[in-house]
C-alpha cells in the first residue's frame, strides 16, 4: 500500500465524499476523482491481472491510454465490461470489479502461466492449438484470457443520436484547442469544441495555469465528449457521457467544414525488465494524480527517462510531497535493469546499484495523438529529432495544432535496454520485447503481421502506449528506421464505445418502423395472430382451442369448398403510363405486354440482367397507354425503384411515368367456388368477368378495381379500394354467410398444392425462367428484355440444372432437405426441398423442390437427407391439384 491522498491540492471537491466498491471492498473518494485516482488514494496497488501471464497489474497511466486498469463497471443489467478506470468519473455507489483474475485478484491460479511463459511465446496458439481444430480449445483459452464478461440482460439505459453542423470543429480542450476555438469563434464562424474530460484546460489543469473560455452564441462547448471516429467528408463521430441526464450517452455526428485536431500527446513508457510491476507508472500520470487529484501515487519515487522532461517532473513531484530517490537519465548512461517486488515496487536495480523506492516514474518521450488525423486519411511520418510520429499530409479539411502536431521539443534520445528479463512492450496484451524479437526472427517483420502474430496493440487500449515502442524494437531487430517499419492503420473507434450508443433509440419496438395493414384493428378483433412479413400480417385466425396450424388448415379448406377472405393490401401496385409504356414493359417483363388488350391481365416474370428471377406478378392493361402492375408484396418498392432507374438512366427520352400506389390502394381477396356469388352480394357485378380479366367499378362513390387472378387455384377476385375503405369492405364481406377470413399460412398451403412458385422461396439467386418451367414462350418474343442475353448462355440451356418439381412422400419433408446423389450420406446434393406441407385438400404430404434434371425424372424415387434424417419421396409434376385449372374458370 503506497498511494495516498495528499492533505491538499487537486481539482477534487473535498466537501463531497463518495462511497464506491471495488472487488467487494467499500472505499471512498471525492467528487472530481476518477475510479483510478480514487483507487490510488485508497492505496490499492493491484487493479487487475494481465491478459496472458496473469501477473499483477497496477494503474499505469491517467488517461485513455491506460493499458492495465480495465474493470467491469456495475452489475446485472447495468454491467459494462472493458471499462478503463482512468476514464470513469467517480459517482456515489459505483461498483467495479477487476478482470482476468480467477478465483481472486490476490490469488490467481492462472498466474502459473507466468512460470510457464517460456512455453507460451508469441504465436503460441497458432502453433499449438491447431490439431485437430482450434475450436476444440477456444472456450478454455478464452476463459483464461478473456477481458471480463458481457452482460446477459437487456440494457435498460437510454441512448440518443444527434446530428450537428459547424464551420469549425475543434477536438480537444487543452491550451491549443481552446485558443483555436476562440480564434475561430471571434472570426464569426460557428464553432464546436469537444473535450473528453469533464473540464477544459488539458495539461494546464495540473501542470500549469488553467485557462478559461466561455460558451458564446457561436461557440458550443461539449465536455465529457470523446471524438472517436473521423470519417469521409469531415464527418466526426463523438460520444458524450451524459449520465446525469435522461440518456446515458449521446452519439454526435458532426459535419464540419474544417476540423482542428488538438488532442495532445501521450507519454511513452520505456521497455526494461520488470517494467510491469505495480508502482511503475508514466511520469506524466504521477504528476496528474498529484496535481489534478491530490493523490501521491507513492512515497518515494525513482525517475527514469530519456528526455529533458525528467527535471520538471522532479520539481513537480517534490512539490507534491513525494520524496525523490533518484533520477536516472539514459542519456547519461544510467538505466534501470530490474525491478524488485511483485505486487508493488520495493526497489529498482540500476546501473548505479539498488535503490529503494515504492514508485518508478518513467518517461520515454511523447507520441502525438495522431489517431484521428490518420483516420481522416492523413499520412504520418517519423521525426528523428524528436523520436515520434507526427502528422504529415492531410487529405481532408483538417489540421493538427499543439502537442498533437508535435509542437514541442524535449530533446529525446532513443534508448533500448540490453538487460535480461521479462521486459513488456504491451502491458495490456502481455507482449514482451522477446516476443517482438521472435516475430522478427520468424519473418513477421511487417507491422501488420507483428500485430496479428503477437497481439501487440490489440485490445481496449489499442496500443496507445505500446505501438511506437513495438515498431522501434522491430526496426532495431530488422535494421530499419521506424519510418520504414511504419504503423498499423489507425481505425475507429479511438476509445471503446458501447453497443448501446451505436444503436441509440433503435432498439426493441423502435428497431425499425413497423408497417400495419389499413385494417389492422379489424384483424385484431377477429383474433388474428400476426407475423412480420415486412408488414404485420395475419398468419391465421385461430378459434378457441385451435392451434395456428389447425386454423390454417380449416381456413384453406374453407377456400376450397366455399369462399375465403384475405387482406392482400401489401400487394405491390405500380401504375405505368405514357405513350411508350407498352414498349417499356416489353423490356421489363419476360412476357410480351404490348399485345395485351385493355381490360386483360397477363402473368409476368421479371429478371435481373443475369437472367435470374427477381419478381413475379401480373400486368393489367387499364387503357391503351396505361398499365397496372401487381408485384409481390415484398417487391413493390424495389421494383418501382428499378423501373425508375431504367427510365432515368437508359430510356430518358421515353414517354413513361411510374407511380408506386401500393399504399394508396388496399386489396381484399375473395377466393373459392362461392367467391363470385359473394362479390355479387357485395354489389359488384362480376358474374361475367372471366379469369385474367379486369374491370374498374364503383361501390357507391368509392372507386373499385377488380382483377380476376388467382394464387390459390380457385376462382379469385382481387378487389382494390382506396386504403381507407379496406376495413369496411372486409367487414361487409365477412358478414356474408359462408365467408371465412384466411391468413398467410393458409394462402401458402393453397399455392403449394397448386405448385405456384413463391419467388425467393422456390427460387433463389440462380433460378432462371426455364428452371421453373416457364422458359418455352421466350423464343417467340422478338424484342430484348432485361436479362434475356444472359439466358442465351450455354449454362442456362443445360439439362442438368435444378428444375422445379413436386415430391410426394409418406412423411412430411422438411424445407431444405437435400436430394441425395449417393446411397449413403455424406454424398453430393442433387437439389433441395423449397416448400412443403401436408396438403389440407389431399390429406397427405406434398412438397416442391428444385432437383437436378428434375423434369426428366418424374416418377423416380429419391432419398433425401436433413439433419441426420433420411427420407424417401417420389418425383412428380409440380402441381398436386386441378392441373387443368378448371377451378379457376368455374
Amino acid at each position: 500500500m503506497s498511494g495516498a491522498r495528499r492533505p491538499g491540492g487537486g481539482r477534487i471537491d473535498r466537501n463531497r465524499p463518495l462511497c464506491f466498491s471495488f472487488d467487494g471492498r467499500t472505499l471512498s473518494g471525492f467528487a472530481g476523482d476518477t475510479l483510478a485516482s480514487a483507487l490510488l488514494a485508497n492505496g490499492v496497488d493491484v487493479v487487475g491481472r494481465s491478459f496472458k501471464y496473469h501477473r499483477p497489474r497496477g494503474v499505469f497511466a491517467a488517461g485513455a491510454e491506460e493499458p492495465n486498469a480495465v474493470v467491469q463497471l456495475e452489475i446485472g443489467a447495468y454491467l459494462s465490461p472493458n471499462r478503463v478506470a482512468t476514464e470513469i468519473e467517480l459517482y456515489e455507489g459505483l461498483v467495479a470489479h477487476s478482470v482476468n483474475a480467477w478465483p481472486s485478484l490476490g490469488f490467481d491460479l492462472y498466474a502459473i502461466n507466468d512460470r510457464l511463459s517460456r512455453l507460451l511465446p508469441a504465436g503460441f496458439y497458432y502453433k499449438t492449438f491447431m490439431w485437430p481444430h482450434w475450436h476444440l480449445f477456444e472456450g478454455t483459452i478464452r476463459k483464461a484470457a478473456g477481458l471480463g464478461a458481457a452482460p446477459t440482460q437487456p440494457d435498460p439505459d437510454r441512448y440518443e443520436h444527434r446530428h450537428a453542423h459547424c464551420d469549425v470543429l475543434v477536438i480537444g480542450g487543452g491550451q491549443a484547442g481552446i485558443s483555436a476555438a476562440r480564434d475561430a469563434a471571434q472570426s464569426g464562424a460557428r464553432v464546436m469544441l469537444v473535450e473528453a474530460s469533464s473540464e477544459l484546460g488539458g495539461r494546464a489543469l495540473w501542470a500549469g495555469d488553467a485557462i478559461n473560455v466561455d460558451q458564446t452564441e457561436n461557440l458550443t462547448i461539449l465536455t465529457r465528449t470523446t471524438a472517436f471516429g473521423y470519417y469521409d467528408h469531415n464527418l466526426v463521430a463523438a460520444v458524450e457521457d451524459c449520465s446525469s441526464g435522461v440518456a446515458k450517452e449521446r452519439l454526435w455526428k458532426i459535419r464540419a467544414k474544417q476540423v482542428v485536431i488538438a488532442t495532445g500527446a501521450i507519454e511513452r513508457p520505456l521497455v526494461f525488465p520488470g517494467n510491469d510491476v505495480p508502482g511503475v507508472m508514466l511520469a506524466s500520470a504521477v504528476q496528474r494524480y498529484a496535481h489534478g487529484f491530490g493523490v501521491a501515487a507513492g512515497k518515494r519515487v525513482a525517475l527514469f527517462g530519456n528526455n529533458d522532461g525528467l527535471f520538471d517532473y522532479a520539481t513537480a513531484f517534490e512539490a507534491a510531497g513525494i520524496e525523490i530517490a533518484a533520477i536516472l537519465d539514459t542519456r547519461r548512461g544510467e538505466e534501470v535493469i530490474g525491478v524488485k517486488g511483485r505486487k508493488r515496487v520495493r526497489a529498482v536495480q540500476t546501473s548505479r546499484g539498488e535503490i529503494a523506492c515504492d514508485l518508478l516514474a518513467v518517461s520515454g518521450g511523447w507520441s502525438p495523438v495522431v489517431h484521428l488525423f490518420s483516420q481522416s486519411g492523413g499520412s504520418i511520418s517519423f521525426c528523428d529529432k524528436r523520436q515520434m510520429f507526427v502528422p504529415d499530409k492531410a487529405v481532408q479539411q483538417v489540421r493538427c495544432v499543439g502537442a498533437a502536431n508535435g509542437d514541442f521539443d524535449l530533446n529525446t534520445q532513443p534508448w533500448q535496454s540490453r538487460a535480461k528479463g521479462k521486459a513488456f512492450v504491451d502491458l495490456a496484451n502481455d507482449v514482451t520485447a522477446a516476443d517482438v524479437m521472435l516475430a522478427a526472427r520468424e519473418n513477421y517483420a511487417s507491422v501488420e503481421h507483428l500485430k496479428r502474430y503477437t497481439t501487440l496493440g490489440m485490445g481496449p487500449d489499442q496500443g496507445k502506449t505500446s505501438n511506437v515502442n513495438g515498431l522501434m524494437l522491430m526496426g532495431d531487430a530488422t535494421g530499419r528506421t521506424p519510418d520504414a517499419v511504419g504503423t498499423t492503420r489507425f481505425r475507429p473507434p479511438y476509445t471503446p464505445i458501447s453497443f448501446g450508443v451505436i444503436s441509440g433509440a433503435r432498439v426493441g419496438n423502435l428497431m425499425r418502423p413497423r408497417k400495419f395493414l389499413p385494417a389492422h384493428g379489424w384483424h385484431q378483433t377477429l383474433g388474428a395472430v400476426f407475423e412480420d412479413y415486412g408488414w404485420q400480417r395475419p398468419d391465421a385466425y385461430p378459434q378457441a382451442g385451435e392451434s395456428l396450424g389447425e386454423a390454417a388448415i380449416r381456413e384453406a379448406r374453407a377456400v376450397r369448398t366455399s369462399a375465403g377472405l384475405f387482406d392482400a393490401s401489401p400487394l405491390g401496385k405500380i401504375e405505368v403510363w405514357g405513350s411508350d409504356a407498352a414498349r417499356f414493359l416489353d423490356f421489363i417483363y419476360v412476357g410480351t405486354m404490348s399485345t395485351l388488350n385493355p381490360g386483360r391481365i397477363r402473368y409476368g416474370l421479371m429478371l435481373d440482367e443475369n437472367g435470374v428471377i427477381i419478381d413475379d406478378g401480373v400486368a393489367i392493361r387499364l387503357a391503351e397507354d396505361r398499365f397496372l402492375l401487381h408485384t409481390t408484396s415484398g417487391g413493390a418498392e424495389r421494383i418501382a425503384a428499378m423501373l425508375d432507374e431504367w427510365l432515368q438512366c437508359e430510356f430518358s427520352g421515353w414517354d413513361v411515368r411510374v407511380l408506386d400506389c401500393t399504399l394508396q390502394w388496399g386489396t381484399v381477396t375473395l377466393s373459392g367456388p362461392n367467391a363470385i356469388e359473394v362479390a355479387t352480394a357485395l354489389g359488384l357485378p362480376v358474374e361475367a368477368l372471366p379469369h385474367m380479366h379486369f374491370r374498374a367499378d364503383q361501390l357507391g362513390n368509392v372507386p373499385v378495381r377488380v382483377a380476376r387472378v388467382s394464387y390459390t387455384g380457385e376462382a379469385t377476385l382481387e378487389i382494390s379500394v382506396p386504403a381507407r375503405y379496406v376495413k369496411s369492405l372486409l367487414e361487409t364481406a365477412a358478414a356474408i354467410a359462408g365467408v371465412t377470413p384466411f391468413g398467410v399460412l393458409a394462402l401458402d398451403l393453397l399455392r403449394t398444392e397448386k405448385g405456384y412458385v413463391h419467388v425467393g422461396a422456390d427460387t433463389d439467386g440462380m433460378t432462371t425462367p426455364g428452371d421453373i418451367g416457364l422458359g418455352r414462350a421466350i423464343a417467340k418474343k422478338t424484342s430484348d428484355f432485361v436479362g434475356r442475353r444472359s439466358l442465351l448462355r450455354p449454362a442456362c440451356a443445360r439439362e442438368d440444372r435444378l428444375q422445379l418439381v413436386g415430391l410426394e412422400s409418406a412423411n412430411a419433408l422438411p424445407i431444405g432437405a437435400h436430394i441425395m446423389e449417393g446411397s449413403n450420406a455424406p454424398c453430393p446434393s442433387g437439389g433441395f426441398v423449397t416448400s412443403t406441407c401436408i396438403s389440407p385438400t389431399l390429406g397427405r404430404p406434398i412438397a416442391l423442390a428444385r432437383i437436378r434434371e428434375g423434369r426428366a425424372r418424374l416418377g423416380e424415387t429419391v432419398k433425401l437427407f436433413d439433419l441426420g434424417q433420411i427420407f424417401e419421396a417420389k418425383i412428380v409434376a409440380p402441381c398436386f391439384l386441378d392441373p387443368d385449372g378448371r377451378r379457376l374458370h368455374d
Binding site: 486519411g377 440482367e609 438512366c649 430518358s652 448462355r793
Partner: protein
C-alpha cells in the same frame, strides 16, 4: 460518410442515397458476343483516383445523377446530369 450534392436537393448525407455503380456503361444489344455481355455484367474499372459512378437520391427526390469521385480521398470532383457526357476537368 460522404456528403453528396444532389443536383435537386443540395448537399445531403450519404445514407439518403443509393450508389448504382459505374456510370456511362453502355448496354450491349441482344446480339452481343458472350465476351461483350460478360464484360457488361462483370467488368468494372477499379481506378486509383477519379471514378465515374451513378447515384440516386432514393430517400429524397429520387433523381439519378452522375458523380466523379476520387477513390483515394473520396472527394467528389463533379456532379452532373445522368444523360450528360463526362465533363472535362482539370487534372
Amino acid at each position: 460518410m460522404l456528403n453528396i450534392e444532389c443536383p435537386h436537393c443540395g448537399a445531403r448525407p450519404e445514407h439518403e442515397f443509393r450508389c448504382g455503380g459505374d456510370a456511362h456503361v453502355v448496354r450491349p444489344p441482344l446480339s452481343a458476343s458472350g465476351e461483350t455481355w460478360a464484360e457488361y455484367l462483370f467488368g468494372h474499372d477499379n481506378p486509383k483516383g477519379d471514378q465515374t459512378e451513378r447515384w440516386c437520391h432514393s430517400f429524397g427526390c429520387g433523381l439519378w445523377f452522375n458523380v466523379i469521385r476520387d477513390t483515394v480521398s473520396h472527394e467528389i470532383r463533379a456532379v452532373y446530369p445522368i444523360t450528360a457526357q463526362r465533363p472535362e476537368q482539370a487534372a
